[in-house]
């Protein structure tokens, strides 16, 4: 039991097929409580399928998955009490205002003071000024912030972020990274999927690479680096990346 309590997520031999197509062929990994775990993989590798199974939206064909001590197949209610999901596309209600979205979520989580919860979240995510505008008028970055704020209503212990920065501009991406780091510092377990290597490198305590239905490598960044041949010394002229140039010109955010 003492071993189990340090793990937020335990996945063993997870399998899932869509018709003939086998997406997950036996996936194993564990996520430590309070850590940031990144599941890395190219498009179509099955990252979202893993997230959906862990978030009780999809049933696996085989294997087990335990989230916060609850088996996803037999105790989905317990899992849902422990988690929140931020999907690939910002799932905000565009007809409602930012505030109304948050109040609605607080009511659905059956919290005692929905309006107060909404006000706090709006402040925390810099949306107070836009609070009473419909979410359809928000920029992509604001929408993602509202989306993440909605996920955090009720302080879930485990947060799933499925490609949280796909489609965001660099500034918004760095903002999301900041939020993720703050959350982890506060003790929340973060399960992140991404196709950006840099994102995993920036954020994750542990990284697992999902490829053709299996985890082909996992560990900390330095462990993963050891898997590769000894570093060679080469002289390369270092050109700034476009992202560095962009951020230098825009100049509003210091690099994290």
């Amino acid at each position: 039991m003492s071993i189990a309590t340090t793990k937020s997520i335990q996945v063993k031999g997870l399998r899932k097929s869509y018709k003939q197509h086998q997406v997950l062929k036996g996936v194993d990994f564990e996520v430590e409580k309070g850590s940031i775990f990144a599941l890395l993989g190219s498009n179509g590798a099955g990252k979202t399928t893993v997230v959906k199974i862990l978030a009780t939206l999809l049933k696996q064909d085989g294997g087990t998955a335990v989230v916060n001590g609850f088996d996803v197949a037999s105790k989905p209610d317990g899992v849902r009490q422990s988690i929140s999901l931020t999907g690939q596309f910002a799932a905000v209600d565009e007809v409602l205002t930012g505030r109304e979205n948050l109040v609605m979520l607080a009511k659905l989580r059956h919290l005692p003071h929905p309006r107060q919860v909404a006000d706090d979240m709006l402040k925390r995510f810099g949306l107070t000024e836009a609070a009473d505008r419909r979410a359809s008028t928000y920029s992509g970055g604001m929408r993602r912030r509202l989306d993440i704020a909605l996920s955090l209503v009720g302080k879930p212990q485990i947060v799933f972020l499925d490609e949280p920065t796909t489609g965001l501009d660099p500034e918004s991406r760095i903002e999301v990274w900041k939020i993720v780091k703050e959350l982890a510092d506060g003790g929340t377990t973060i399960f992140l999927t991404t196709q950006y290597l840099e994102e995993a490198e920036q954020l994750a305590d542990r990284i697992a690479i999902l490829h053709e239905g299996r985890i082909i490598a996992s560990g900390t960044l330095s462990e993963l680096k050891k898997l590769f041949p000894q570093a060679k010394v080469e002289y390369v002229e270092k050109q700034p990346s476009l992202e560095e140039i962009f951020l230098a010109i825009v100049g509003k955010k210091e690099a994290i």
Partner: protein, 255 residues
């Protein structure tokens, strides 16, 4: 530990409040479900009405049941639309990953459909009263009319749920309702079926709208309803049960 089921009603209430906001904030919805049927009623009474031989001294009385069915048929197409958007934008997934009763999400949409259609029907009846609609019916026949209309709404709402949950595009989600909008025109809703050619007449007299319209008309005018009401009820309940089963299957499979 508290379970999701304890909160079914309050969760559904939140869903209802949300969808009702969607309706009241959408000019398009209000125009289509409320203003269009009223315009149609004005058109038929004050423009075509003089030329229509419906063997009645009060054409508003004759017309009203059909107008109400058209309003409901256009109302439920928005239920399909709203369900489709919730599914497409990941909102259903968000709700389903939360500790709330899963069915509350779908039933919230169904309840919204009933509540909004009741509001539409009341508004249209009030406008009809201003246009000269009169009924000698007592409280019981009125309740029967309300019951048939709610049943009709539920039946079409579940049809709309199938469309909303299984559609691949916004157009697909609402296109299914166009044939429903035409059914009242090929029925006894606007003109008696006697005047129609044989084939059209056979269709008109045996499709659900005619029996529903005839039953409501008889109830409102204090006439004996005959077997129309049973045919109407059979249609409504039959469509409702069949559509409910298919919609639930689509819901479990896709959402």
């Amino acid at each position: 530990m508290e379970t999701a089921k304890n909160h079914f009603l309050s969760d559904m209430g939140v869903m209802l409040g949300r969808s009702m906001r969607h309706i009241f904030r959408s000019m398009d919805t209000i125009i289509t479900v409320c203003i269009t049927p009223i315009a149609l009623m004005l058109l038929f009474v004050y423009v075509f009405g003089g030329a229509i031989q419906a063997d009645t001294d009060n054409y508003v009385n004759y017309l009203l049941p059909g107008i109400l069915l058209i309003a409901i048929a256009s109302g439920i197409s928005y239920t399909a639309y709203r369900l489709f958007l919730d599914k497409q934008r990941g909102i259903i997934e968000r709700f389903h990953s939360m500790p709330i009763a899963r069915s509350a999400v779908l039933w919230g949409h169904v309840l919204t459909s009933v509540v909004s259609n009741v509001i539409t029907v009341v508004i249209i009846v009030l406008v009809a009263l201003a246009m000269g609609f009169r009924s000698s019916a007592g409280i019981l026949p009125w309740l029967a009319v309300a019951g048939i209309l709610v049943l009709f709404t539920l039946a079409l709402t579940w049809v709309a749920a199938i469309a909303g949950l299984s559609a691949k595009s916004v157009e697909g989600a609402s296109a299914f309702s166009y044939p429903l909008l035409f059914l009242p025109f090929i029925s006894s809703a606007f003109v008696p079926t006697d005047s129609m050619p044989r084939v059209v007449r056979a269709f008109a007299e045996n499709q659900p709208v005619t029996s529903i319209v005839e039953a409501i008309r008889a109830l409102l005018s204090g006439q004996p309803v005959g077997h129309d009401i049973w045919v109407a009820l059979a249609w409504c309940v039959g469509i409702m049960l069949a559509a409910y089963l298919f919609a639930m299957r689509a819901y479990k499979k896709r959402a």
